[in-house]
């Protein structure tokens, strides 16, 4: 069967496939990524660099990521590659500037690949679970809440945009290109969005404080299964043992 090269929608998007790298815990992946990145930074000679390149790509494709994914992840660095090579050629001339320029550019790309593999193989929930061990719960609460409100504010932005367009604000793609109409973006979109954010922050803070968030040094979690276990054990103690 011919293997179809499927890609992702954007760079560093999580890929839901099964691979040995996916099955590793977030902590182990971070360790491997850090070790690979450090190794890539310290090599200078062609043979060790080739070895490091092979290790990086092995790690990448071991996660069952495709060539299309790789292209999507590293194409951003092409522009940087051109600039760096140009700078080295300008400074050292041709052909002395070629190897240092190519080596530095390759090192930069390879340096980011382990981190990209981490993002592509680790779900947000695993990342957060791993963070729970050492990040204070208040920061995690803020992070989760901010993440949770991303679709909410995306929707709000869309609604405000449509409502303002109906009221005659100059927000079409052609108008946005003209600086004279940029004022409409800020007064018709940004300010209403900020007012909405202020109101939402009030309501969310009130809601969280009513549930006791932040009242104690450690937080508790509502766990249905745990509650059922406690209730079941209490029922056993209450029920008379009739034989």
């Amino acid at each position: 069967m011919r293997r179809r090269m499927t890609g992702s929608d954007y760079a560093c998007q999580y890929r839901a496939v099964d691979s040995p790298v996916h099955r590793l815990s977030a902590g182990w992946k971070m360790l491997i990524s850090a070790a690979l990145s450090i190794w890539i930074l310290v090599v200078r000679e062609p043979q060790p660099l080739l070895l490091a390149t092979a290790a990086c790509f092995l790690y990448y494709f071991f996660a069952r990521l495709t060539l299309a994914d790789l292209w999507r992840d590293i194409r951003f660095f092409l522009f940087q590659f051109i600039i760096l090579l140009s700078l080295y050629l300008y400074k050292l001339g041709y052909p002395e500037g070629v190897w240092p320029g190519v080596r530095t550019s390759i090192q930069i790309v390879l340096f980011f690949i382990p981190g990209i593999v981490f993002l592509r193989t680790t779900q947000v929930s695993s990342m957060m679970k791993g963070l729970r061990g050492f990040v204070p719960y208040r920061i995690l609460f803020l992070l989760f809440t901010s993440l949770r409100f991303v679709p909410f504010f995306a929707r709000e932005m869309q609604e405000i945009f449509m409502a303002q367009k109906l009221r005659g604000a100059r927000l079409s793609p052609q108008d946005i290109r003209r600086p004279v109409f940029w004022r409409d973006i800020f007064s018709c979109i940004i300010i209403p969005l900020l007012v909405r954010a202020l109101k939402t922050a009030d309501e969310a803070a009130l809601s969280a404080e009513a549930r006791g968030m932040g009242a104690h040094p450690r937080r508790t979690y509502y766990d249905v299964q745990e509650l059922e276990k406690i209730l079941a054990s209490k029922e056993k103690t209450i029920q008379p043992t009739g034989k």
Partner: protein, 194 residues
């Protein structure tokens, strides 16, 4: 609602912390939806500088911009918008640190045009520093690092300046309508719930 109950870092109330979280959300949203394929380095600093300065103006306390930077970086990583991997945190944290440091010496800078412009461009120019750090560890020569950092920083500073232009007017508008407190004013605004 008590605004003086500290929730985070013995400094921010829950409302302020959530507001800063939402500013981080806006940075990520604008980054995701307005991916300008200009091919010009530094254009992402436009909205980043705008919302970082806005956050500092809305919550005029030291650490506000840093918190927004940290959260925005973490959200970008969580949503897979970090095309450079976890190291993209530097791009969010460095500008935020500059803004907070400036706020220590000039608490009211967010409502003044010229200081806002200067601080915004300085904060955005730190993008060059982040690039320089990566190049340094790859063993590039110092003049290449400086050149590259200068090019990146210059473009980023330009877009940072553009992004900081509307901030003073917006902050003044919000303060006039008593939606946000002035710096040094211990009393929070009247809550919308009251």
């Amino acid at each position: 609602m008590k605004n003086d109950v500290k929730f985070l870092w013995n400094r921010f109330s829950m409302r302020e912390a959530l507001l800063l979280g939402f500013c981080a959300t806006f940075i990520v949203l604008t980054k995701a939806t307005l991916r300008m394929k200009l091919g010009i380095s530094g254009h992402s600093m436009f909205f980043m500088t705008f919302f970082l300065l806005l956050a500092r103006g809305i919550v005029p306390k030291t650490g506000a911009a840093t918190l927004v930077g940290l959260l925005a970086g973490a959200i970008s990583i969580a949503l897979g918008l970090a095309h450079k991997g976890p190291i993209i945190m530097l791009n969010f944290v460095f500008p935020a640190l500059v803004i907070d440091s400036a706020g220590i010496f000039l608490p009211r800078f967010a409502s003044c045009f010229l200081p806002c412009l200067i601080i915004g461009s300085m904060a955005a120019a730190t993008k060059g520093v982040a690039e320089g750090i990566v190049l340094f560890f790859t063993g590039a020569s110092i003049d290449i690092i400086l050149l590259r950092a200068l090019i990146e920083g210059a473009w980023a500073a330009f877009f940072g300046m553009l992004g900081s232009l509307p901030v003073p007017a917006i902050i003044r508008k919000l303060r006039t309508n008593r939606l946000i407190p002035a710096p040094g004013n211990g009393k929070g605004r009247a809550s919308s719930a009251e």
